[in-house]
């Protein structure tokens, strides 16, 4: 399947880490949600973010592609500070157009798919390549169809999202993100909204993507997926990174009390 997927992961080379967060802070009003996060994701690495609900996993993911502004620290993606320009000693938020350009490199998959319901599957896939990359319809369509094929939905190009099962919708959402040829993919609980029997088909696509060398950050409660696929597991709680390491270490032999308590509740 992964000829097309592999192509999009070709950018996994280059100096330095793909994502680096240094002392990242974020508050909503008076509620501090990220309390100084340090995190590094290397090129081609698959990192699973786990932790209790409300611990700030989604917020961290959304800070990576600047869907949320940050209030302290710094976030680098592919060697560049995400969302800000350094002028003198101050970080100035970038113009919207520049942020949009950076986001092209970062694919994101949401818990509730967020497909565009007024467009069919093919239109969902080629919309951003045409609007943002100014690509011609034939070449965007060719890549979209190849990607649909690689996620096993070649026959659904003309279907509307609401005519698809949750698992199919999420696979379309993954293909839609890949259509922009991102260098890194962010997944926010991609299987949490799915019926149990549909989880497998989505995880399979994600496994293939990981095998193709894509850099991935995955917020998930699927411990088996983390064990099988993740190069590293990061446990977050209450706005901090509490513990990280290989899946074997963090899930198999957690050191921290909070990690143990969390794992006991999900396993």
């Amino acid at each position: 399947m992964s000829a097309t997927i592999r192509e999009s992961a070709a950018a996994a080379t280059g100096p330095g880490p793909m994502i680096k967060a240094a002392a990242v802070r974020k508050s909503y009003g008076r509620l501090e949600v990220l309390k100084g996060i340090d995190l590094q994701v290397d090129r081609g690495e698959v990192v699973c973010l786990i932790g209790p609900s409300g611990s700030g996993k989604s917020t961290l993911l959304r800070c990576i592609n600047h869907l949320e502004t940050i209030e302290g620290g710094r976030m680098w993606v592919d060697g560049a500070v995400m969302g800000y320009d350094l002028k003198g000693t101050k970080l100035h938020e970038q113009p919207h157009a520049k942020i949009c350009r950076s986001r092209v490199e970062i694919g994101m998959v949401f818990q509730h798919f967020n497909l565009f319901p007024h467009m069919n599957v093919l239109e969902n896939l080629i919309e951003a390549p045409r609007l943002v990359l100014k690509e011609k319809r034939p070449s965007a369509t060719a890549r979209a169809l190849a990607l649909l094929d690689s996620v096993g939905l070649a026959d659904k190009a003309k279907a509307y999202p609401r005519q698809l099962s949750g698992g199919q919708q999420q696979r379309v959402a993954i293909a839609r993100a890949l259509c922009m040829r991102p260098k890194v993919m962010l997944f926010d609980e991609p299987t949490s909204a799915l019926d149990p029997e549909l989880v497998g088909e989505v995880l399979k696509v994600m496994k293939d993507l990981a095998a193709s060398g894509m850099t991935m950050v995955v917020v998930t409660h699927e411990m088996k997926f983390a064990r099988d696929v993740a190069d590293r597991v990061v446990f977050m709680d209450d706005g901090y990174v509490v513990e990280q390491g290989t899946a074997q270490d963090v899930i198999g032999d957690p050191q921290h009390e909070r990690t143990k308590a969390f794992l006991a509740s999900v396993l």
């Binding site: 869907l67 986001r103 467009m119």
Partner: protein
Amino acid sequence: MTIMTEPKKTASAVDEYSIVNARHPGRWISAAVIVFLGLLLLRSVVTNPNFGWSTVGMYIRDVSIVRGIGVTLQLTVICMAIGIVLGVVLAVMRIAANPVVRSAAYAYVSFFRGTPVLVQLLFWYNLAALYPSITFGIPGVDLDANAIITPMTAAILGLGLNQAAYMSEIVRAGILSVENGQSEAAGALGINRLQTMRRIVLPQAMRVIIPPTGNEAIGMLKATALVSVISVPELLYSAQIIYARTFETIPLLMVASLWYIVVTSILSVGQYYVERHYAKGGQRSLPATPWQQLKRFVRVHDPLALKGAKK
């Protein structure tokens, strides 16, 4: 074991009964009462000589009446277009981050919704009394208000700008009805805010925007009758000119009313199909159009087809 055999038994029994739908005598009675009352009304309308049906027939396709319809339609289309375009702009301003922009849009809507449109029309018509020359504050620009503000431009400004205030509320409700996740997904793909609004949010907002906009268009068509007070020769004014001369007031008001009904009916049909278009993707399958329903009704109730099915 008994449980296993039971379905078989019922399955064979099921075939032996035929289904008789419930009778609804109440429906027949109420239908008969309504038809009877309708016939009474129809008889009085046809036999009352004061309606002057022969005069109605004489003027229904009169040249000045037909021209009046043309002006009415023209006004409706232009004013709705202004209303929709300006309404979208105002709606986007209402949800902007800049508080000054937000307040300006809010003030506009309050002013135009807060004053009767008839008063606004008279204001525009008499603009020359307020600003004899229009400069827009730009040096070198000096336009004579009396020359620019014809009855027609006053009508267009009055109805169009007023409509924009109402449209902006409708469009805003539509925009707010689109889930935030849609803008986020677009943003994450690198689509900018303007493109997101145009390609992702507004098309989805249409499902909420179209039905009340259809009502507004029909309302606008009727509101154009107001501009007869500033002597724009639309449908009503054209009828008035005739009956001022011939004193056949009721027949000519009937002529105008009949035309208003014809045009609003056509608009309603158009509205139905536009709504259907924007319902795309909203439901798993679109409901049948009345025409498709009729075809299916004929197919299902076709006695020949029924006999064929029985065999």
